[in-house]
Amino acid sequence: SHGFPAATSETQEQDVETVQKYLENYYNLNSNGKKVERQRNGGLITEKLKQMQKFFGLRVTGKPDAETLNVMKQPRCGVPDVAQ
């Protein structure tokens, strides 16, 4: 949830780390340490992001937008959201 008024939907790309870790921990992204932006198969990241956005009822954009990052920064359970 955003404060009042809600943050704009502009995306701050510097949270690449957050995205990488979150998708590895909870959406079975296997990237053996390669950084997201250097991922050859950027399509895999997009797919995993869409999976996460769908799970949380967010707009399914495949992009790490502000509301997606907002959810990723929330403390949570360590059990993945998708079957291992």
């Binding site: 949830s1 403390p75 949570r76 359970c77 360590g78």
Partner: protein, 367 residues
């Protein structure tokens, strides 16, 4: 709800648990109690029983650990991952680990052990994460003041173990569906150019940046507000929103609850003691007149003089013809009043005292 793939479950429904070690953040008794209450939630709705043992191997081993604790799922320091648990099975199956780099509490402060334990034990029993934000099995940590199984959690665990032997089947709260045509509201207010709709423990929020409706717990913004609000209105030129429940009200500025609340409506607004609660309220920005709706009557309060106007209460049917004789919620936008009664919404022009449009209550949610 989601059952863990492969549908793992405990065949023996009389389970044991053991707390292997304790966090330094709480007394042993507080940890024991939080864990016991968390199991109690699941016991109340299933045939399962949980017995605490102090030594040897229990079905569900509970421990406080940090960092890499050799289960292939290292914790990550403060924040982030709070805890995890393993699906039913032998050995590590069913076990629950709590990150001791977190601060564990028994109140609103992060993180409430009872709330997290109740979630983790759902995994220990065979549940995966739910997409229902009102469910205990939702992945992100949200503490709304009370810890209870939602209907989604109950449906999930009973899909695995069947109902409890309790003659009266316990039920849980349902999370509102924004596009449910039967959706009704407890209260609605504008807030800093946006609109917030309240129902039970939840708010629904529309704002210009996101077409989607944001739905979350009221406690995310105002932890100490009660659930099931009765009325709410904004005094825009004071950047203040007032929330009413029973004969009490709270004032907030953004996310900050102002000091010295709740106050009572009698002393602050001059209501007679016969008024036990407010159904709805709205303040007209350009006149500073606030209308309070109670049963079939309405009062008018002058925000500048800070007193009730003479000649009130009046019958709602006289002051606002056509909207019926009771109001669930109301807000003002663009000079019009939007009255809500059940699943109906009336767009009303206070200048001409006429209804302009009849709408569905959830027409603002772009369903």
């Amino acid at each position: 709800f989601v059952l863990t793939p492969g549908n793992p479950r405990w065949e023996n429904t009389n389970l044991t648990y053991r707390i292997e070690n304790y966090t330094p953040d709480l007394s042993r008794a507080a940890v024991d109690q939080a864990i016991e209450k968390a199991f109690q939630l699941w016991r109340n709705v299933t045939p399962l029983t949980f017995t605490k043992v102090s030594e040897g191997q229990a079905d569900i081993m509970i421990s406080f650990v940090r960092g890499d604790h050799r289960d292939n799922y290292p914790f990550d320091g403060p924040g982030g991952t709070l805890a995890h648990a393993f699906q039913p099975g032998a050995g590590i199956g069913g076990d629950a680990h709590f990150d001791d780099d977190e601060r564990w509490t028994t109140d609103f402060q992060n993180y409430n052990l009872y709330r997290v334990a109740a979630h983790e034990f759902g995994h220990s029993l065979g549940l995966s994460h739910s997409t229902d934000i009102g469910a205990l099995m939702y992945p992100s940590y949200i503490f709304s003041g009370d810890v209870q199984l939602s209907q989604d959690d109950i449906d999930g665990i009973q899909a695995i173990y069947g109902p409890s032997q309790n003659p009266i089947q316990p039920t849980g709260p349902q999370t509102p569906e924004v596009c449910d045509s039967k959706l009704t509201f407890d209260a609605i207010t504008t807030i800093r150019g946006e609109m917030m709709f309240f129902k039970d423990r939840f708010y629904m929020r529309t704002n210009p940046f996101y077409p989607e409706v944001e739905l979350n717990f009221i406690s995310v913004f105002w932890p100490h507000l009660p659930n099931g609000l009765h009325a709410a209105y904004e005094v825009a030129d004071r950047d203040e929103v007032r929330f009413f429940k029973g004969n009490k009200y709270w004032a907030v500025k953004g996310q900050d609850v102002l000091y010295g609340y709740p106050r009572d409506i009698y002393r602050s607004f001059g209501f007679p003691r016969t008024v036990k609660s407010i159904d709805a309220a709205v303040s007209e920005e350009d006149t500073g007149k606030t209308y309070f709706f109670v049963a079939n009557k309405c009062w008018r309060y002058d925000e500048y003089k800070q007193s009730m106007d003479a000649g009130y209460p009046k019958m709602i049917a006289e002051e606002f013809p056509g909207i019926g004789d009771k109001v669930d919620a109301v807000f003002q936008k663009g000079g019009f009043f939007y009255f809500f009664r059940g699943t109906r919404q009336y767009k009303f022009d206070p200048k001409t005292k006429r209804i302009l449009t009849l709408l569905k209550a959830n027409s603002w949610f772009n369903c």
